[in-house]
């Protein structure tokens, strides 16, 4: 399973316009100008690709930080 730092990097790659090099596990992923429902769908698709875990929209909705989503993946892959 990929580490949280690898996940943060993959997460950052889903953005096109903002600088994501300062993203950390504790980053509030909605707190920027680019976050959108399309990126939320991309997160779900990326997690399916990279972790073979199926997230739903509510998993993203209930998360605040990137780590929250990672923890959700960990919980679902157990």
């Amino acid at each position: 399973m990929k580490t949280i730092d690898e996940f943060v990097e993959l997460f950052g790659e889903l953005f096109d316009d903002i600088d994501t090099s300062n993203f950390t596990p504790e980053t509030n992923f909605r707190d920027n100008d680019e976050w959108s429902s399309l990126i939320a769908l991309s997160v779900i698709a990326m997690v399916d690709d990279e972790f073979d875990v199926t997230l739903v929209g509510n998993d993203i909705k209930n998360a605040t930080t990137i780590a929250d989503i990672y923890n959700c993946i960990v919980a679902k892959s157990e």
Binding site: S37, L38, L41, S42, I44, A45, M46, D48, D49, V56, G57, N58, K61
Partner: protein, 248 residues
């Protein structure tokens, strides 16, 4: 008095009859007097549909349409039918940059190849009578690009629409009619997959000029019409039912 909208005396095969639009279409066909043949994978849920049918002479023929052997066995045990409603299908919301070949295959197999193979064999084995009617559930997403990141799903339905138009042309030699119904969002299990949240669906529903998503019966009534003699001169059409969402 002869009612051209009635399905009295007709036998209709409905696939995907275990839920959503397929189930409702089977029920409405039975209410209009048809004998209905129900097919889908899940026997238990087919029996639930069966218990809601009116009248008599109905039949359950379970089959997994992804399995060629099961398609063949369905066709060989199928009585001669006057109409077919192909409702089996699967949705997928996925941004295009993640649309890999295996995702395409999964959706195209169930939305395009499975219903077409069934139809092909039924036609070839002459299990649908002359002057019969074939109704295929495609989608608004198969006629235009709509928001919602449903590219693979839309492409599968566009291909389905196209294939059915060719069938309409060819099958006219037996006076068999082939039409597609292209719904906008209909409130069925297919749209409640969780990929987008219920809140997002509610927001999207507000965009519909008629103020709501479709109900399965909205689609079932159109299928009944296309199956009936009232639609005898209609073939090769893509009937959009969408609460006005595609009005420009």
């Amino acid at each position: 008095m002869k009612n051209p909208f009635s399905l009295q005396g007709k036998t209709i095969l409905v696939t995907g009859a275990s839920s959503g639009i397929g189930r409702q279409t089977a029920i409405e066909c039975s209410r209009m007097g048809a004998s209905v043949v129900l097919s889908a994978r899940n026997v238990e849920r087919l029996q639930e549909t069966y218990s809601q049918l009116e009248g008599e002479g109905h039949l359950i023929l379970p089959a997994d349409l992804l399995d060629t052997v099961q398609i063949e066995s369905l066709v060989s045990s199928l009585p001669e039918v006057n109409g077919i409603v192909l409702c089996c299908g699967k949705g997928l919301t996925l941004p295009m940059q993640f649309a890999t070949r295996d995702k395409f295959d999964d959706i195209f197999n169930i939305n395009l190849f499975a219903p077409f193979e069934l139809l092909r064999l039924i036609y070839k084995k002459k299990k649908i009578q002359k002057q019969g009617s074939i109704v295929t559930l495609a989608s608004l997403g198969g006629t235009q690009i709509f928001s919602g990141r449903n590219g693979i799903y839309g492409a599968s339905k566009a291909a389905l629409n196209s294939v059915m138009m060719f069938c309409a042309k060819e099958f006219s030699s037996r006076r068999i009619r082939v039409n597609c119904i292209c719904p906008g969002m209909v409130d069925t299990p297919l749209i409640h997959r969780g990929t987008v949240t219920e809140e997002q669906l509610q927001e999207n529903e507000k965009l519909y000029p008629l103020g709501r998503y479709g109900k399965p019966e909205d689609i079932a009534y159109a299928a009944v019409y296309l199956l009936s003699d009232a639609a005898s001169w209609i073939t090769g059409q893509q009937l959009v039912l969408d609460g006005g969402i595609s009005i420009k």
